[in-house]
Amino acid sequence: MTRYIVRRILWGVLLLVLVSALTFVLFRILPTADPARLRAGHNASPKVIAQIRVDLGLNKPLITQFWLYMKGLFLHFDLGYSYYSGASVRSLIFDRLPATLSLTLGAAFLWMAIGLPIGIVSALRRRSRMDRASMGTALVFVSMPEYWLGLIVLYLFAADIGQVKVFPGAGSYAGLTSDPGKWFSSLILPWLVLAAGFAAIYARVMRGSLIETMGQDYIRTARAKGLPERQVVLRHGVRAAITPILTIFALDVGVLLGGAVLVETVFDIPGIGRLNYDAITHADFPIIQGTVLIAALFIIVANILVDIAYAYLDPRVRFS
């Protein structure tokens, strides 16, 4: 098992190098704004621009640039400096991480707490009115783009522009350590908006998975030995049906930790996604490179965690 994990981690590192190389090539080769020109500001002389190009190392061959980047990354975990503000990308990302973590984990808790029970009840009361109603609602929420839903709830409930002024609106985020009360209240709407679509998906997946599980022979066996129905459903049914849920859960959380771009942008939450969004509008390549790398890292880690978790959840899974 240790060998397997070590091998997975090494593959993960290789994958990260490949992802870096790809973003490197994509952003340098595709026609984007010239970072040196952007940095130099309006009406800069060609000489100044050339000087900036040398300062940023943009005059070196692409392969050398990549080599220097990788060297800094592996030796010092140095992600470079923003073309735009000159700030360290590493510290920018670390500064933004708590907001993204808060948003993602809170929303993840919500969508599991809402989606799974609805999925379970729907599966057990299949084709009932309750099942139809909740699956219909789920379809609506799955189909709603989250930036749209975000704008709607802001319009309805935000303290500044809302029709009913209940929750703090966009741009009210405060750090957990600086003001816990404000942190919580400012995240209520973003959590709900981010969780809505996921809760809908999870309810549907849970329902499908549990319906399939409840038709299995071992559920019949559990009933035949006289277990109470509650135990049949929860211990035998849900226990087996939840495995696919955990897989997508880990991957979804991994993706969101790389930045919930839309929700962070709509609610103006200073997270990784917002950082990424701003960097793209400024062609701030080192930040884009850094956030993409962090996002890839989270997804790769989530994948490895899923595989390890499987071994504990399902005794039939063996590492090889």
């Binding site: 071992y218 019949r220 030995k225 959840l313 399902d314 005794p315």
Partner: protein, 365 residues
């Protein structure tokens, strides 16, 4: 066909139907049987004959599938069909236990087999986990699983097919039920293991004096174990008698077909096995009249219109058969078949007019 005293299980006019998207499926269509304490009843039929549904219904396991069940299932004087879900739950696994066809899919893949037995015990008795585990080990020993103290901690996929079925049987016996329903307990197993499992069931039945309902498609399986045999076809019992009568003097053409499709060790090597022509009818639209008539080599035109009822064979009140052929004709046919003559010759010898072969061909061979 009752054993001494009141029967343990008396099923009366059991009907089970499911509504499906294609229409109403009458899986079991009015069957009745009895089983005495410690007795063994074999229920034999092809797949789709309703035998499994009939067995599951005794434990109320078709309730959860949205089946409509009517009739009466008397167990020690109580009607199981009239029990509430909770009352029925207390019967399941405690007084009536069940063993299924495929032990791999019937055991929960994520739990250790020992834990699954512990659960079966604790569903009915409040005993400590440690005590229940000790009982599980004892049960493993009883069903002949070597190294039981270690094997109780195995997961189902770590055991061989035979060991898994033994574990299933151990689980069924956990609370010493009065009745064990075994639904095709050997079908999913290797041939060599099949005999071992049957021997085991026989030994356990003797030692624990429980009644057994053995559901199978294979007359060979029930041959040694069952004292009575009910033959099911298209949701109905077409013949029921002592095992001895079924094997020596069967009365129903379908039973003849089943018997002739069993290879015998002492028969000549080149002896042809006679398969029963055609397929079992669709439960959505069972044939009119005698449900076996489209496949029966001896069917007469009126058999497509008249529905036979179970009636005692002359001189044998315990031997009942649902066949429209006259008893003398049936006896003649069987004696011809036993001589090794094919059905057409037997029919001619018994003086039957030309059979309804076209419709037998329609049944789709």
């Amino acid at each position: 066909m009752s054993a001494a005293g009141d029967p343990l299980l008396r099923v009366e006019d059991l009907r089970v139907s499911f509504s499906t998207e294609d229409g109403l499926v009458q899986a079991v269509d009015g069957i009745s049987y009895e089983l005495g304490r410690g007795g063994t009843l074999g229920i034999v039929g092809e797949s789709g004959s309703g035998k499994t549904v009939a067995a599951l219904s005794v434990l109320g396991l078709t309730r959860t599938q949205g089946a409509r069940v009517s009739g009466r299932i008397g167990f020690e004087g109580r009607d199981l069909l009239a029990l509430s879900d909770e009352e029925l739950r207390r019967v399941r696994g405690e007084e009536i236990a069940m063993v299924f066809q495929d032990p791999l899919s019937s055991l929960h893949p994520l739990f250790r087999v020992g834990a699954q037995i512990v659960e079966a015990i604790r569903a009915h008795r409040s005993v400590a986990k440690v005590k229940a585990r000790a009982r599980a080990i004892e049960l493993f020993e009883l069903v002949g699983i070597p190294d039981p103290a270690r094997r109780v901690d195995a997961y189902p996929h770590e055991l061989s097919g035979g060991m898994r079925q033994r574990a299933m049987i151990a689980m069924a016996l956990a609370n010493e039920p009065k009745l064990l329903i075994a639904d095709e307990p050997t079908t999913a197993l290797d041939v060599t293991v099949q005999a071992q499992i049957l021997e085991l069931l026989e030994r356990l039945q003797r030692e624990l004096s429980m009644a057994v309902v053995l559901v199978t498609h294979d007359l060979g399986v029930v041959a040694e174990m069952a004292d009575h045999i009910a033959v099911m076809y298209a949701g109905r019992i077409v013949e029921v008698a002592s095992a001895e009568r079924i094997f020596t003097a069967p009365e129903h053409p379908y039973t003849w077909g089943l018997l002739q499709s069993i290879p015998t060790l002492d028969g000549p090597r080149e002896e042809l096995l006679e398969p029963i022509a055609g397929n079992p009818p669709s439960p959505l639209a069972p044939p009119s009249g005698c449900r076996f008539h489209p496949r029966c080599p001896y069917a007469q035109p009126e058999h497509a219109r008249t529905d036979p009822i179970l009636q005692p064979a002359p001189g044998h009140p315990d031997h009942r058969v649902a066949c429209l052929l006259a008893p003398e004709v049936r006896r003649r046919l069987w004696s011809e078949l036993r001589e090794g003559r094919p059905p057409e010759q037997a029919a001619a010898a018994a003086g039957l007019p030309a059979p309804l072969l076209p419709s037998a061909a329609e049944a789709g061979v």
